[in-house]
Structure formats: structure tokens, C-alpha cells
């Protein structure tokens, strides 16, 4: 292989990393470089330094250490049998690139992943070396996310957690049958075993910090995972159930859903067409319902069409749920508890907080609500205010047609 310069390698190794959806840089411990020695800070909030035309945030330098791999997972552009051009960074090159980008305020930090070369332990060692060098040689205080390799030595994972803010392992496919078909060399029990091990390491780390302030931090931004949507036969119902199980068992901060997207030199096992991007969006919305709106997983699953197992594409899952459980509405904005307000389609968590605060001061009328929400038209059929009650509206058979977005708008959004 001819020697490639840094830019040529970056083009290959960033291209290879783009199928990982995560770019979060939030939720970690606060750090600064006020001591004048180090570089960087974290505020806990996360910053998106740019947006690509695919609508995704660019917060981290997201690259692979190498895109060579001894595995042959069909959905992966880096699989052994793919004809993609290969490249490999040295740990020192990644460190240099990260620092150069960070100094110019292009990024919040690094998200490093890798194809597996030689062995899992060898690959993990190389990745840990990048994080170690950034933290110890350069006193880098920015964000580091390391993708860990499920069967790497636990001591290496421990080292990774001491340097990184976040660790992640991808479950890849929502169903075991799908994983077997598309990633025959990966094992679901092994992936889950590693995630369970990670959970206890993170919890032990947090526990030790409570008792001894000098205890080292271990992955303060927790662990996350990613599922590919639309490459196997899993329905939205299956995916919601799986995500709920993952949150529950592994204490995950986030589950990412990545609509399968066509890759150059695809394996024949893969579907050719991508699922609608709207499907991925609806899954994120269902995820939000569980994480921020106090829906139980089985309640979110009620938004799924029982015949097809899929969430509707034309309306969001919260509205779908409300249309199915119309007896829970209308909700009186002047009296209902927070849980009931959170169920109203079109009311976000901020609007609910505003309503709760505002009603100490006034009996809410429609014009007041209009100042607190984005679209009054959308929520009207579901609410009662001092001057409004949706008499027969909630029973209208064609209620969905009334409030669902018009088709043209939907496609614009999906494009």
C-alpha cells in the first residue's frame, strides 16, 4: 500500500466512521484548562460545531483508527470482503489531528472507533493509547468517546474508561436473528455481556467517587449503543421493546437508531433500498416519550399499528397514542397534573413547565396557551381551558385528518 498523507487517510477513515450516528458531547463532568497547562473544557452541555447537509451535528472528530477489519459483517462498509480503500492512522497522528482541530474550535473532542486488526486486544490497546496520550501527554480536557471492543481484556476497558468520557458498544441489529444473518461473527450474548460489565464498572466508579473524592472518574458520560434500522426484519414494535430492555438492563444514556443507508460496494445480503428516514425519526420520538415524557415502554408500543407492528409515518407516536386513547382527553390545562399534560400531543416538556408555572398566576385561556406553545391548532382538540372545551371534536372519526400534517409538508421534512 502506497503511503497516504494525513488528508487522504482522513478522507477514508472519516468516511468509514460516518455510519455511527452518535456525536454527543454532553452530560460529562465539567472540566476547564484554567490551570494554564491543558487544552480544552467541557461544560456538560455539548456543542455542535457544524452541521453536514445530512442534518447531522458535527461535534466530535469521528474517525476510525483503521478501516481494515478481520470481520465480515454484511452491513459494514469496512468488512473484510469489501473493496473499499484501506488506511490506518498511528495513535500519534490521531492525537495531532484532534489537537489541531480543537485549537481552532472545530470540535468538542474525539470519537474514536476502529476496525479490528490482529486481535481485539491489540486494537483496543491502540485506541487506549490515543486517549492516554491526549489526557496525559497533552492534558487534553475536551470530550473523548471510545468505541470499545466486546471481547477485549477487561483491564483495557478499565483503562479506556479512565481516559474517556463515554464508552459504547453497538448492539448493531435489533434482533438476534438479524445479527446472526448480517454479522455472523458477532455474538449477541458476548455484546450484552460486555455492556453489563461496563454498567457495573461505571456504577462502581460513580460509587467510589461518592466515598472518596480522589477516586478516578470512570466514563462520566456513561455508555450508549446503536441499532441499525431497516436492515433486518425487526418492526418498530420489536425495536421499541429492545430499546426499553437495553435502557433497563444496561443503564444506557442513549440508544441511537441509524436508518440503514446504502453503502458503496454493498454485500448482497443487504437490502438495497434504505428505509424512509422518517422511520428513524419516529423511533427517536418514541425514545423521547420513554425518556422525557414518562411513557412506559408498553405504552409507547401501543402507538404501533397492531397489524404491521410499525409506527405511523405520517403522524408522530404521541399523537398516534392519543388518537388511540381518546378517553384520556380532553385534558384541563388549568387543573391536570403534570403527567396528564405531558400526554397532550403538541405540548413539549418546556410548554408543560410553563403551563404549570403560569397557572399559579391566571386561569389559562386559549390566547394564553397560544403564547406557550408552537401550534394551538394541533392541541385544541385535546385540551380544556377557561374559555374552550372541544365538545364533539375528540370523537370525530376524521380527527387525524384534522390535525395530521399535510402530505406535502411531510415529504419536505422527510427529504
Amino acid at each position: 500500500m502506497a503511503q497516504l498523507d494525513t488528508r487522504a487517510k482522513l478522507a477514508i477513515l472519516a468516511d468509514a466512521a460516518k455510519y455511527d450516528a452518535s456525536c454527543a458531547s454532553s452530560g460529562t463532568a465539567k472540566r476547564t484548562s484554567k490551570d494554564g497547562k491543558g487544552l480544552g473544557s467541557t461544560t456538560g452541555m455539548g456543542i455542535c460545531h457544524a452541521y453536514a447537509p445530512d442534518g447531522r451535528c458535527i461535534s466530535l472528530l469521528k474517525i476510525l483508527l483503521t478501516n481494515s477489519c478481520i470481520f465480515d459483517c454484511h452491513y459494514c462498509i469496512n468488512r473484510k470482503s469489501s473493496n473499499v480503500r484501506r488506511a490506518r492512522f498511528t495513535p500519534a497522528e490521531v492525537v495531532e489531528l484532534t489537537l489541531n482541530f480543537y485549537r481552532r474550535n472545530y470540535i468538542e473532542g474525539l470519537f474514536l472507533s476502529s476496525g479490528i486488526i490482529r486481535s481485539s486486544n491489540y486494537t483496543m490497546e491502540q485506541m487506549v493509547e490515543v486517549a492516554r496520550s491526549l489526557r496525559e501527554d497533552h492534558h487534553f480536557r475536551g470530550y473523548i468517546h471510545l468505541k470499545t471492543i466486546p471481547d477485549a481484556d477487561p483491564e483495557l476497558i478499565h483503562q479506556a474508561g479512565l481516559h474517556a468520557d463515554r464508552l459504547s458498544i453497538n448492539v448493531e441489529l435489533p434482533t438476534v436473528a438479524g445479527l446472526k444473518r448480517l454479522a455472523p461473527e458477532k455474538s449477541a450474548p458476548q455484546i450484552e455481556g460486555a455492556m453489563l460489565g461496563m454498567r457495573s464498572a461505571i456504577e462502581e466508579g460513580a460509587d467510589a467517587r461518592k466515598r472518596y473524592r480522589s477516586a478516578p472518574k470512570f466514563a462520566p458520560a456513561g455508555q450508549s449503543t446503536q441499532m441499525i434500522v431497516g436492515a433486518d426484519a425487526a418492526t418498530d414494535g420489536d425495536i421499541i421493546g429492545r430499546a426499553a430492555g437495553l435502557y433497563d438492563r444496561f443503564g444506557l444514556r442513549r440508544v441511537y437508531y441509524s436508518a440503514f443507508s446504502p453503502i458503496p460496494d454493498a454485500s448482497t445480503v443487504l437490502p438495497l433500498q434504505r428505509p424512509p428516514l422518517m422511520r428513524e425519526h419516529r423511533l427517536y420520538q418514541s425514545d423521547w416519550l420513554m425518556r422525557f415524557y414518562d411513557y412506559r415502554p408498553d405504552e409507547v408500543a401501543q402507538a404501533v399499528d397492531p397489524a404491521t407492528g410499525m409506527l405511523p409515518l405520517d403522524i408522530d407516536p404521541k399523537l398516534a397514542w392519543a388518537l388511540r386513547f381518546r378517553d384520556r382527553f380532553p385534558v384541563d390545562l388549568n387543573r391536570a397534573p403534570r403527567e396528564a399534560l405531558l400526554r397532550v400531543p403538541g405540548l413539549g416538556t418546556k410548554a408543560v413547565a410553563s403551563i404549570l408555572a403560569a397557572r399559579k398566576w391566571r386561569r389559562l385561556r386559549l390566547e394564553d396557551v397560544a403564547r406557550l406553545t408552537v401550534s394551538l391548532a394541533k392541541i385544541r382538540p385535546f385540551i380544556v381551558t377557561a374559555d374552550w372545551r372541544p365538545v364533539a371534536l375528540i370523537d370525530k372519526v376524521d380527527l387525524q385528518a384534522w390535525i395530521a400534517p399535510k402530505k406535502a409538508q411531510l415529504e419536505l421534512f422527510a427529504a
Binding site: 460516518k18 428516514l277 404491521t308
Partner: protein, 457 residues
């Protein structure tokens, strides 16, 4: 009239001191004119003396009001000082009531300021400058509101070990590694014109973009065009968007055209996955999934409705009475059965138990849609030139919409996935016709349909 002159656009302390004194002296809001520095001013302002000394009891305001005011003061709207003073003098506790029009207006201003602060942290781009004093990183940024000083701490804490300057049209910030100093307004020309690392950054930007998922609306929402002119990577957006569709189509075409060496393995893996399918409830009562079968390079794919009683038990398509009828008709139509891939629109047997017998039940639209995934995968692997649908359920599956057989029968159809479709009746229909003559005629028509289909190849 009382005129209050604040020292700068973002002079929160000045506003607070003046507002506190004015409020304690019960000066009504219309009586106060707020201005900044030397410029501007109200021609009718008569009393420019400092506000009266505070006499009444200490003015207490809630924390939320202070936070709101600190943000709003940074807004570019000249009315912000007066609006805040109005809220302070009516009832500062009202700040909780976000349905109040004034509070709402101030909240929106605060939100715009916080967003501008956040975007400055995100979109400032430093360029490296090397001179006799060493290395310095210099950025040119144009904020919308008066946020630069308020944002200084963020940059100091992040880049404490670097020497840097942020130049803006209103003020300049300089950090020398130990102290922060302020300079006058600057222009774009005062900042370096380039940085060698920018080319590397642009390479990254272009490579991390996935052309198969273009969502420019989402990009513009978070990275509005007003910020673009000072961000080097945005110069690439136009070309990336223009090329995206072509790149995605090329990927799909390459994949479609490539005869992968692992079609056989892919099909077997697909069948194994299908054996565990739970996409619709039909898997519960059925014995097993009945997947398609036949040569994977078949030019013709036959799609039936669903497995029947015998197919469900045997696990193979078209082995029951209808299958035997189909075999006979294919033979008579001169079609080589060994060159045909057969499958079903729905891959589990749907039935109603009646005594010991299981009576066939028609799959509904939801079940057909749920099962479409498998049909699409089979289609992608086999890539037949022609897909022949047997009966209305299959016709619905291959065309993606409901229609009657009579309307579609015997003519070439363009399929949504590409390729040609053809529709005829299901052989079980022939078995159900009570009248022998009618059945004989229907059989001849069926054979003729199959012959017509084969002729298209």
C-alpha cells in the same frame, strides 16, 4: 423625563443600579429614557441627573428575574432596558407567568441571546498566526447580539494555554495566556485570511457527510446561513448537496448490478431469519414460515397469496392441490418450472379452525404490508425480469396498492421496485368454480395468461 445613560450595550450592572434606584423612587416606566454611551438620546429628555438615592426598603427580586434580565440586556433591541424596567416596576415575581405578554416577549429575547451565545461558542473559527512574539490564534466573528464580553469566560476556560484574539465589529477580546484585555471594534481584514489546517477540516466535513441521507432543512435550522460566511466548511455545502443524489443512486445501481458471489448464502441467511419472523400475529397459530424457493437466477418470479394447509405442514410453497394445478398449467404453457422462483405474498398460513379442519382465511392489508419486507428482500436477491402475481393479494403485494384482477390482468405493469409485473388469477380460484364448463374455460385463460407472461421474457 429622566434619562439614564449606560456605559455600554451590555452594561447590566449599570442598568440594575439605575433601575433599582428608579423603582424605589417610584418613577413610572414612561418617565425614563434609556440610552447607551454618548450617542443617541431623547430630544425631549429634560432631566439627565443621576437617579435619586435609594430611600425605601430594599427591592427584592426573584432569582429568575435576575437571570432573565442578564440575558435580555445583551439583546440588540434598543427597547430592552425599558421593557425590563416595566416588568420590574409592575411585579418582578410575574416572571414566572410565561403566559403574560410582556414576560413572553422578554423570554423570547432571552432565548435569542442564549442561542447567539451558544452559536458563537460553536461557530467561532480560529486561524493560526505566527509572528515574532510566537503563535496566536485569531478569529473573526459577527454576533447578532451584544454577547461577546459575556462569552469571554467560556473561551478563557477552554483555551487558557493558548494566546488568542476574537475580533468582532463591536469589540475585540485578547487573551495572552494570563490576562484578558479588550480592544476596539475590528474588521474582517484584521484577522488572518487562511489557515493550512482548514483544508484538512474541509476534507473531514466532506467525508463525514452521508450522501444517502440528505436533510438540508435540518442543517439550515441549526446552522442558519447568516453564520456561513465565517465558517470555511460551508463553502462545500452546495457541491455536496448537488452531488448527493447521484452518489446514492450510483451506490444502489452498483449494488443492483453486481452479481455478488454470495447470493446463495444471502438467500439462505434470509430464509433462516424469516423462520423466526414475528412481524405480524400470523406466526402464532401457523406451523412454520413458508419461504420462497427456486433458482436464484430465475427470470420469472411467481407470487401466490399465502401457504395453504398442506404447505404450512410441509414448509414448502405450492405443494397442495393449487400447486398441482399450477404445475400442470405451467407445463401446458411451455414454461420450464426449473427456471421459475415461486413464493407467496404472505408467508404464514392464515386460517380459521372449524372442527378438525383449518379453513383458509384471506390475509388483510396490514398482514400483507407486514410481509412485504420479505418479498422485497427476495426480489432484491433474485432480480427477476418478470414478476407474475397470482390473485388479488399477490397483485397488491407486487404493485403496492389495492386493485381488482379484472383491471390488471394480462398487461405489462411497471413495478415500484423496477422491472415488469403481470397479473393473473390464483389457481385455487379455478378449483373453487362450481360449474365445470366455466372452470375449464378459466383454466384455458389461466394457461394463456402464463404463456403471455413467458413470452415477455
Amino acid at each position: 423625563m429622566r434619562a439614564i445613560t449606560l456605559s455600554a450595550e451590555d452594561d447590566f450592572d449599570g442598568w440594575r443600579d439605575a433601575a433599582r434606584a428608579l423603582a424605589q423612587a417610584h418613577v413610572p416606566p414612561p418617565e425614563v429614557v434609556w440610552r447607551v454611551g454618548e450617542g443617541g438620546g431623547d430630544l425631549f429628555a429634560v432631566d439627565a441627573s443621576p437617579p435619586p438615592a435609594a430611600t425605601g426598603p430594599q427591592l427584592r427580586v426573584p432569582k429568575a428575574f435576575v437571570e432573565l434580565a442578564q440575558a435580555v440586556i445583551l439583546h440588540s433591541d434598543p427597547q430592552r432596558f425599558a421593557l425590563l424596567y416595566t416588568l420590574l416596576t409592575t411585579d418582578s415575581h410575574r416572571v414566572e407567568d410565561r403566559a403574560d405578554p410582556l414576560v413572553r416577549r422578554l423570554e423570547l429575547m432571552a432565548k435569542a441571546v442564549r442561542r447567539d451565545i451558544h452559536k458563537m461558542r460553536a461557530f467561532v473559527r480560529f486561524r493560526e498566526l505566527v509572528d515574532d512574539t510566537g503563535t496566536r490564534f485569531v478569529a473573526w466573528f459577527e454576533p447578532e447580539h451584544h454577547i461577546v464580553r459575556a462569552n469571554a469566560r467560556f473561551f478563557v476556560e477552554r483555551f487558557a494555554s493558548m494566546r488568542w484574539s476574537i475580533l468582532t465589529p463591536e469589540v475585540s477580546l485578547h487573551w495572552d495566556g494570563t490576562t484578558l484585555s479588550e480592544g476596539p471594534a475590528a474588521t474582517r481584514e484584521d484577522a488572518p485570511a487562511d489557515d493550512p489546517v482548514e483544508a484538512v477540516w474541509k476534507t473531514y466535513y466532506a467525508s463525514i457527510f452521508n450522501p444517502a441521507r440528505l436533510k438540508t432543512g435540518a442543517m439550515l435550522k441549526e446552522m442558519p446561513r447568516k453564520y456561513w460566511k465565517n465558517m470555511p466548511e460551508t463553502a462545500l455545502v452546495k457541491a455536496l448537496v448537488a452531488g448527493a443524489r447521484a452518489r446514492e443512486t450510483a451506490m444502489v445501481e452498483t449494488a443492483r448490478g453486481a452479481v455478488g458471489g454470495n447470493v446463495e448464502g444471502a438467500w439462505e441467511a434470509l430464509r433462516d431469519e424469516a423462520s423466526a419472523c414475528t412481524r405480524c400475529p400470523l406466526y402464532k397459530p401457523a406451523t412454520q414460515t413458508v419461504f420462497g424457493e427456486g433458482p436464484l437466477d430465475a427470470p420469472m418470479m411467481l407470487v401466490g397469496e399465502q401457504p395453504g394447509d398442506q404447505e404450512d405442514l410441509a414448509g414448502r410453497a405450492f405443494v397442495g392441490p393449487a400447486g398441482q394445478m399450477l404445475d400442470r398449467a405451467l407445463d401446458e404453457a411451455g414454461i420450464d418450472r426449473a427456471r421459475v422462483y415461486v413464493t407467496n405474498a404472505v408467508k404464514h398460513f392464515k386460517f380459521e379452525p372449524r372442527g378438525k379442519r383449518r379453513i383458509h382465511a384471506k390475509p388483510d392489508a396490514g398482514e400483507i404490508t407486514a410481509c412485504r419486507w420479505w418479498y422485497e428482500q427476495e426480489l432484491a436477491l433474485v432480480r427477476p425480469k418478470l414478476v407474475v402475481a397470482l390473485g388479488a393479494t399477490a397483485a397488491r403485494q407486487i404493485t403496492g396498492k389495492a386493485a381488482t384482477i379484472a383491471k390488471l390482468r394480462g398487461r405489462k405493469l411497471a413495478l415500484p421496485e423496477g422491472g415488469t409485473g403481470w397479473v393473473t388469477v390464483h389457481p385455487s380460484y379455478l378449483l373453487r368454480l362450481p360449474d365445470a364448463d366455466a372452470a375449464a374455460q378459466a383454466y384455458l385463460d389461466f394457461v394463456a395468461d402464463l404463456r403471455g407472461a413467458w413470452a415477455l421474457l
